[in-house]
């Protein structure tokens, strides 16, 4: 950041200007924690690996599934909250900057935990469903990205800024509520795709591909819907293995 950009230089000014950098550090830690799952690459022709990944999901205790879900949220989603994080920190007193970051993050993950609990329940109640769900979920996710006006509005709303109180408990409540609101709208924009990633057993293709696509989508002035939807559709092909097996067996049966 040069003087010509804002007139402010120096490392202290740089850190103060980017309060969102700490969430990138948390995201990296989450990636490290979830790394052992990423060796499950999965793909067409790697049916065994995929099945093993899916089996991995529902072989784990529900609590572990939920923890992995939260790690996945931290790894993939919180880097996308840099704009609202800057908002709450710069709009708060300096001595509260650490508190507001934590409060925002807590508010943000609450709706995601809610969605994660739903995933845990489904994977526990219908374990065989998981091995089939990835490809259709990515496919539906691709269509959701491409066609849905609701998603486009959700993308706008998860970036919208709101006034926050400066003092007392109300300030804490406002920051937490703002984080909750951002998380809520993020679920509308990215929830399907996160469910798809989780259903693959956090396969590398799914998580890394989904993460890159999420960043790419937000890198332009307008969300790059067609390219992102194409990317998700291509990811869905990696997990179409079980469906191909069924189709091949059916064709065999016919002939």
């Amino acid at each position: 950041m040069s003087a010509n950009d804002t007139g402010r230089t120096g490392p202290r000014a740089l850190i103060r200007a980017h309060p969102e950098w700490w969430i990138f550090a948390i995201s990296i830690c989450a990636w490290v924690a979830i790394w052992p799952h990423l060796e499950n690459v999965a793909g067409v022709g790697h049916v065994h690996t995929h099945a093993a990944g899916a089996a991995h999901v529902h072989a784990m205790p529900p609590g572990r599934v939920l923890i992995d879900w939260i790690l996945m949220t931290f790894a993939m989603m919180i880097p996308l909250t840099s704009h609202p994080i800057r908002h709450v920190v710069h709009r708060s007193f300096l001595h509260r900057r650490h508190v507001v970051r934590v409060l925002f993050l807590l508010g943000y993950v609450v709706p995601w935990i809610g969605l994660g609990l739903c995933f845990v329940w489904v994977s526990s109640a219908w374990p065989n469903l998981i091995s089939w769900a990835a490809a259709p979920l990515f496919g539906v996710g691709a269509l959701w990205v491409l066609l849905s006006q609701t998603r486009e509005r959700a993308l706008d709303r998860c970036r919208a800024l709101r006034p926050i109180s400066a003092h007392g408990f109300r300030a804490n409540g406002d920051v937490f509520g703002f984080g909750f609101r951002v998380g809520y709208w993020c679920i509308f924009s990215c929830g399907i795709l996160m469910l798809a990633c989780a259903s693959t057993g956090h396969a590398a293709v799914a998580m890394l591909g989904g993460f890159v696509l999420g960043l790419f989508e937000r890198g332009g002035f307008r969300p790059r819907r067609r390219m992102v939807a194409t990317g998700y559709f291509l990811i869905s092909l990696f997990f179409v293995g079980p469906w191909l097996e069924v189709i091949v067996r059916y064709i065999d049966h016919l002939y």
Partner: protein
Amino acid sequence: MRLRKNISTIENDPADKTLQWFGRAIGEMKSRPISSHRSLRYQAAVHEYRRELDPLADDADVLPSTSDQRKYWTQCQHHSWFFLPWHRMYLFHFESIVAAQVEALGGPKDWGLPYWDYHGDSDSRSIPPSFREPTHVGGETNHLFNANRRPGANSGAAVADDWEVDLSCLREAVFAAPPFAGSPGFGGPRAGSQHAGGSMGALESIPHGSMHMFVGGWMSNFTRTGLDPLFYCHHCNIDRLWEVWLRRDPNHANPTSPLWLRIIDFHFRDLHGNDEQMKCRDVLDTEQQLQYLYEDVSDPLMGEADHFGLGVAMASFPEMIGASDTLIQVGVASAVHTKIAVAKQVGEAFGLELHSQRIYLHLENLTCEGPAQAIDIFVGVPADSDPLTRPELRVARFPLFGIGEASRIDGPHAGSGLTFAIDITSLVRELPDIPGDLLEIPISLQAVGDWGAENVRVGRISLYAEEE
């Protein structure tokens, strides 16, 4: 090379037919359907398009494809450091289309878009005469005329006030401000690709927003503004002021961050209807890159110093020192008074005197469903006084151009509203000292101009301090 001339210069030279050619070209553009990129309606839609607000909407309209609309329409950039470069790109393409039409009609090949320089005598502060009459002397339709302007505009009776044409924005030291604090900067705050709720740069606020609201009518609405030919001359002047700012001080410079220069692509249909991608770095030199220059880019402030100097790089970052806690409603009935208490010892070290800091006032997240022209901000007015009786305590008048669009929950700003920042250092330093550790800063808000029945809601008022 195109020369963009002052409308006053053109009108005072009977031999100069620039405006006549402009009018004839606009007439041709008006006759084309909205699906044609060379139509006025298409060009207006590039700024913003909402079908329900299109005054020329017709059932027979054939709109461009949805993907085309997504890519080329409703692209206007506001409340960020992309405001100036995007509007430069927009004008460049508009001018090329008009110039081609002028040439097709038998006019000069080097026709340039004229600018409306309203910072002058009272004549220049009215709608230029060439834009006021519905017909020319011989009865021919004057396509530069638009009936949808404020009362008195087309008669020449409406004259912009001093505040509406004020050029204090040229005294901003930096182009881009930090996104959430301190000085607004000349060109607008740093922003990522998606930006909502950011504050306006000084130029975008006044005279850009103020003159939009002064002309009123279609010019006060994002969707309709491009349908008034005067809009392009207004923005031509805004673009010119960017050049003026760069030249008036050797320390003034455009941002060098790659986030501004080359990350974001903006798409336009060029003269031939082909897709053209532009980045900010493509429009920095009007002569070399875009082949146009301005008749006059001299400094209207005669070398007046910037608000604060940039000779020494500033190592600090603005810090919030006080804020209101309740939402404030401002209406036409009377002024609203509030007080913000700040510690006299501020700054990260808590050893810095308030009076050694620069103090900025922020009005955050202003929203309104109805029309609203402007809002006055006063500092230091006693609660039992009418602020209008203390004009010397007015720090700013903010035009509320775009407040409706920014307040829409289902719009791209998702209801974030408008945010303004203003330097109030001099007035704070004149406040009487009171015993104790706190200083109470009285702030008053007063509605101004044409308002609807709705109140403007101010999400929060906050104060920021920055080491001087």
